[in-house]
């Protein structure tokens, strides 16, 4: 425990509503020097409110301290390893933030004339070119705002292509090792979903796939490497099975940080895929966005890409709206531009060899963790892992301790928990993704902690079951929160008195 990275500040914080005291304000306005207007008369009856019920009245310092104190309860990548698997919580170099904040880029307006937007358009064109090269695809759209949005865009492209051939078909096959958004995407695009079970190696079984694919199959949505962190080694055969029946293959590229510079989806048979620029290409995404789910597609899907598309007119960039077969816009303007700037800055700073090195480091780090922990935790699959490694809680469950309990104990050691109970195909999953940015020291500290917890489980399981012991609240009542969520705070009369 003495190696703990960070302890939590144990401090209770009232809500702003509870901090409120009548008449307190955080501003001062000069006296009104124009005639006062009655808002009811100016705006019409019923359009105004005299007061907002229970609006908190606080001073500036109250607000600053409240949010600063809350921020100290947070755990982020700037505090230590963030091992959430399937998420790629990597550290993103500050220099890319600096580039995105360059005045001319940060304050650009989408309604600015093309002649004054040439630099921004050049950035987008160059990024499209880089992403096409990295993925082995022919064309890229930067419009989708996030991964699942990219998936929907990609599947709509597939639908449009099949429709143009006379039949959009009915079903999309999704392996149980795919990302959870994939089945939802297929449904949103009007398809039914057929689940495909993985084999003992944790990958798609070509024979089972061949039995599932028929003339009603529009596509397979495959995540590669999949959610157990295993590369689909039969992917070429998998793509051939789909193509032989006139179906297409969509790849969820959320795990692309295991492939960049090593292997290109376009070369192994993928028709269309998305990239999470906010995972793989340097945009912090812990705060809920914005993201970018750029979609890369092969030639046969290019006519259907969302418009407008970048085009060359003489020496100038221009937006081409004349796209009769396009699925149309999928987002206002041209995508989340700031994310695109960071992505290009990251790609250009690394260059090809640097990107390849980052990929190799991500895979090396995951395999190092796998090797250090395999004597202490049950390894779900013997197949070599890529950028993330999945264990099961089988050994610890015999002592009554489950993956969620181990994760809670990890908080006491100063780390954010790994991904708990996912993927579902692994019983009691502990899913760990270190990313390429972690040093051996930090990874060793993390592994030492998990090994110490495994020993604690043998020695004193009750202590682990009651973890975390160092946080301001131990275990929250997740069950009641999910069954009867209370999403709006209301003042209770008794509580109000006590606060006064």
């Amino acid at each position: 425990m003495e190696k703990k990275v960070r302890s939590h500040i144990s401090q209770n914080e009232p809500l702003l509503f509870e901090l409120s005291s009548p008449g307190k304000i955080g501003y001062q306005l000069p006296d009104l020097d124009v005639p006062a207007v009655d808002p009811e008369k100016a705006l019409g009856a019923g359009q105004t409110r005299r007061e907002i019920e229970d609006f908190p009245e606080v001073s500036e310092v109250d607000v600053i301290r409240h949010f600063t104190r809350l921020s100290t309860w947070n755990y982020g990548i700037d505090l230590g390893l963030f091992p959430l698997g399937s998420c790629t919580m990597k550290y993103n170099p500050r220099v890319n933030e600096l580039v995105a904040r360059t005045e001319g880029l940060a304050w650009i307006h989408p309604y600015q004339p093309e002649s004054l937007s040439q630099g921004a358009m050049e950035i987008m064109a160059e990024l499209e070119r880089c992403l096409a090269e990295i993925t082995g695809m022919d064309a890229v759209t930067l419009q989708p705002a996030a991964g699942a949005h990219g998936e929907l865009t990609g599947v709509l492209l597939i639908r449009s292509l099949l429709e143009s051939k006379g039949n959009p078909r009915r079903k999309i096959i999704v392996p149980d090792s795919a990302h959870g958004t994939n089945p939802a995407t297929a449904m949103m695009a009007g398809y039914t979903v057929e689940n495909l079970k993985s084999n003992d190696l944790g990958v798609v079984d070509p024979e089972a796939l061949a039995r599932a694919v028929d003339e009603n199959t529009a596509a397979l949505m495959v995540t590669n490497p999949n959610t157990v962190g295993v590369f689909e080694e039969e992917i070429v055969k998998v793509c051939e099975i789909l193509h032989s029946k006139g179906a297409l293959v969509y790849m969820d590229g959320a795990n692309m940080n295991a492939l960049v510079g090593i292997s290109r989806p376009g070369d192994f048979g993928i028709d269309v895929m998305h990239l999470n620029l906010h995972k793989t290409f340097s945009t912090p995404h812990g705060g809920g966005g914005p993201g970018s789910g750029a979609v890369a597609a092969k030639k046969h899907l290019e006519p259907f890409l969302p418009g407008p598309r970048l085009a060359r007119k003489g020496s100038q960039w221009t937006w081409n709206y004349d796209l009769p077969r396009s699925i149309g816009r999928v987002r206002a303007y041209y995508g989340n531009f700031g994310v695109l700037v960071r992505a290009l800055a990251y790609i250009m700073a690394h260059g090809g060899p640097g990107l390849r090195r980052a990929t190799m480091d991500a895979v090396l780090n995951a395999n190092y963790i796998r090797r250090r922990l395999e004597a202490h935790y049950h390894l779900a699959y013997k197949s070599p892992c890529m950028h993330e490694v999945v264990f099961g809680d089988d050994h610890q469950a015999k002592r009554g301790v489950k993956t969620g309990d181990i994760a809670k104990r990890l908080i006491d050691y100063g780390f954010h928990p790994y991904t708990v109970s996912f993927p579902l195909i692994v019983h009691g999953a502990l899913m760990i993704e270190p990313t390429e940015t972690e040093s051996k020291q930090e990874i060793d500290l993390f592994c030492d902690s998990l090994i110490a917890i495994a020993e604690e489980v043998e020695r004193d399981p009750q202590m682990v079951l009651k973890a975390p012991h160092t946080t301001r609240t131990a275990r929250v009542d997740e069950v009641s929160a999910a069954r009867r969520p209370v999403v709006r705070w209301r003042r209770e009369p008794a509580q109000s008195k006590a606060a006064d």
Binding site: V193, N195, V420, S421, F422, R483
Partner: protein, 126 residues
């Protein structure tokens, strides 16, 4: 533990046949594995279910899991109790917390399902 007059699937659903109607639920093993159940999504009455296809889903604090229909036929009744009290599925999965009733369109399908003793062997081995 596992009633003899039920038929079981590999996906941990059970069906009890009363004349031409099958009462469907999830097994005690399933509810234990899922943990505390917080939401149950059931099909509408009138939905035509197909054996082995998704019938609805069960959400626990851990995950959302599909329910696969053990038999084919039309949904004639759903258990309204589960909308307000999903925890019943943890308490009484083989009784009061049945999910739906289906009017069987292919009664022979139950021959493909497992008996109580086979199911117990199956979950022991899983």
């Amino acid at each position: 533990m596992y009633p003899e007059n039920f038929h079981y699937t590999k996906e941990h659903e059970w069906v009890r046949v009363d004349a031409e109607v099958g009462v469907i639920g999830i097994t005690d093993h399933a509810q234990k594995e899922l943990g505390d159940i917080v939401y149950v999504d059931l099909p509408k009455v009138g939905t035509v279910a197909e054996q082995g296809k998704t019938l609805g889903s069960v959400e626990s604090v851990k995950a959302v899991s599909d329910i696969y229909s053990p038999v084919s036929g039309e949904v004639v009744e759903i258990n309204e109790l589960l909308a307000s009290a999903p925890e019943k599925l943890n308490e009484d999965p083989h009784g009061g917390a049945w999910l739906v009733k289906i009017k069987l369109s292919a009664p022979d399908e139950i021959k493909q399902l497992m008996s109580a003793s086979d199911y117990q062997k199956y979950i022991g081995a899983e």
